[in-house]
Symmetry: none
């Protein structure tokens, strides 16, 4: 079944608020196996709203509208949606009572325009709103359905979870199931080239790629009569992807981030970590601290943006800073070593680079970054060249530092494994 | 002139990402005096994309498309938009060279599909992308215009600011001129109440408020025949806003961020700074490092997420940690003092809090945060209660730490001024 989202509100068109409702509803609908081909945003204007709803009902089986259910004259969604389905509005006594109760509870009285919210289209289901006065509405005509939800996320989300999800589940014949293979350190183009044969021949399941800085997520989606069947369809594809991308796959779990997979890797191998950051100024550590419970392995972070801090906190030699410059292979190396010496952490990661916009030269241009990683005394240094503005260079550095750290830890673990097996 | 936004990407329809580009573009277009009546989202499907673009070009003067300019087969925006305008695509040698350079700089080679990005519709303007390989496109047909932008916000925003804003400004009769009064430490509702009389009576200039974590931006926009006239209209309103919000105004410059205003304040008063972070894990320092040239005042940052690090690096007493807990008024105070002692910085800022999801108790719930700021030996501590998930709590902490630090520095400066004047 096909669903379409229509968000109503001039504040979205003016950019005053971000349309997080649409993201929430899209994700929920995808999870329920509904296909969504269009989302629209339209303001509180009767003609444009009518046209948008009309078009949506022609294209989709279910149209979910959010916003415009308030008590003011601006709020037109219910009235307009009712017109599109050529119905009439009636006062719903139960809703009227609920509104009275809602205000009584707060020790205030409803204003006249609040009764507008008790009007319900003929034959429609009024959905209780636990967190506000506007009820949701579900209505149907000739096999087409409209679901009207209040705009505030703290009303919309609980209503959707409690009442709309069960309603939509009951409409569905089969299930859609997805699994995401998360890859790091490989660009989107290269990743797609590596699986172009799989993509070319895909029907069910399908593979879609999503790129983010330093990562590519490969989402495998299957539809089937039961979840069990869908999972069975997905399994060999996920296996093949894991085979092709080997160690670059850091997770196949929906909610596991790169930093989380690194923290898990550290914990599993009983390793502690410390950071020593120059150009990233704390961003690498902040990523690790995204993970709850990181205190078990994160010993300390040093932010040594100034040369003096590099010397004092990490023991980088003054002569070396002078001779090679703060942005150099050697200084990165000493930063990682110094961090290990002073923190006693097993793994240390150091960044130093020219983030710009100033400070670049022909020899050392903006975007030149060195990342050093020390695992139990073995230090590796990577030279990188990033483009973009100051923030872009720093974000690329953070992603690459995490990926590099992960590679170094994996290498160490493999060596340990090799030694243990006595080979 | 009427603008319409079309966002292209299956990841938006699936709810994998929130459509922040649409909010950004809407806000910018409103600021430029363009009316926006519709926003749409459509996936990477040739037929639906064609229909959506076609409809948009019929309804609006300017259609701004974002996303779908990548190198893969999925990316159809340019090809489809070109078809709607009945044009052909040609290889643009300049863009091809730029792509070659982009990859050469990284020491890698473009894959075959990267050349797709060098194709430009006949008669179109290719807009340079400083942060990626996909150029933007501006094209025109029979008085209708399309502007194609890359999807990643870190490519879209700089391109829009640098190249699209001047292009759109040049299309407008008369001028629209805006100035933004940036306020920190005051909530949006309170800010609106403080200027409700100004908002109620506004015609030209208008005042619009935009809220972001810890900040409210008051955008004053005037339209006039010349820039000089528009500026003249804006001047008294900006003056009034500065009068009402006093010290809470940190800038009236478009490109000055809160952290930048703080770094300028530090430099102006020849003060150095150091950070000591627990729950924010480097995010406060990272904000300061957003500012180029921060090395003049940022001495060092300590990330002391673990208790042991608080003791070792900042000298927080073991007994105090045990007695009061890491998240306490007293520990925050000692962190700020310790950071000052060890770094010799004039200003130190410390954060410690329960970011969740675990670690909360009845006495100390998730969201409880202490922020301490020391300016030249005088320490102040602030207790905060934030809501939301782990990231939200940490982001609120960062914003409030910066605002608190700014207040403490201003207070110190005012006292100095007072002393100097011999009062």
């Amino acid at each position: 079944m096909v669903v379409e989202l229509v968000s109503v509100g001039t504040e979205i068109l003016l950019g005053n608020i971000v349309n997080t409702n649409a993201a929430y509803l899209s994700e929920k609908c995808a999870g329920l196996g509904l296909s969504c081909y269009y989302q629209s945003v339209v303001g509180d204007n009767a003609k444009r709203l009518f046209d948008t709803i009309k078009t949506a009902t022609e294209r989709a089986d279910i149209v979910i509208l959010s916003g415009g259910l308030g008590p003011t004259e601006d709020d037109l969604t219910k009235e307009t949606a009712t017109k599109v389905f050529e119905k009439e509005l009636f006062m719903d006594k139960k809703i009227k009572e609920q509104i009275q109760k809602y205000f009584a509870k707060r020790g205030t009285k409803p204003t006249d325009n609040n009764w507008k919210q008790a009007m319900v289209p003929e034959g429609a289901i009024a959905v209780e709103n636990d967190n506000g006065t506007a009820p949701g509405i579900i209505m149907e005509k000739d096999g087409k359905r409209m679901i009207l939800l209040p705009g505030p996320p703290n009303e919309l989300i609980p209503m959707f979870e409690k009442s709309i999800v069960p309603y939509l589940e009951a409409l569905q014949p089969g299930v859609i199931y997805s699994k995401t293979v998360k890859v790091c350190g490989i660009g989107e183009s290269k990743a797609e080239t590596m699986i172009s044969d799989l993509i070319a021949n895909q029907t069910n399941p399908t593979i879609a790629t999503y790129a983010k800085t330093g990562e590519v997520h490969l989402r495998v989606t299957a539809s089937a009569d039961t979840e069990k069947e869908a999972k069975k369809l997905i399994k060999p594809v996920v296996k093949e992807l894991k085979y092709r991308f080997e160690d670059a796959v850091y997770s196949t779990e929906e909610d596991v981030t790169l930093e989380q997979s690194i923290v898990e890797l550290l914990k599993k191998n009983k390793l502690t970590v410390a950071t020593a950051e120059s150009c990233t100024g704390g961003m690498v550590a902040a990523r690790l601290v995204n993970v709850p419970g990181v205190s078990d392995c994160l010993k300390v972070g040093y932010i040594t943006y100034a040369d003096k801090a590099k010397r004092k906190l990490l023991g980088v030699r003054k002569g070396l800073l002078k001779k090679k410059g703060a942005v150099s292979f050697e200084v990165a190396e000493e930063m990682a070593k110094g961090a290990a010496l002073f923190s006693k952490a097993d793994v240390t990661i150091a960044t130093t680079g020219i983030a710009g916009p100033d400070g670049g030269s022909d020899e050392k241009p903006v975007g030149l970054v060195y990342i050093a990683c020390n695992v139990k005394g073995k230090v590796k240094v990577k030279e990188c060249h990033f483009s973009g503005n100051r923030m872009k260079v720093r974000e690329s550095t953070v992603a690459n530092a995490l990926i590099f750290m992960r590679e170094c830890i994996l290498e160490y673990c493999n060596e340990m494994e090799y030694t243990r097996q006595g080979k």
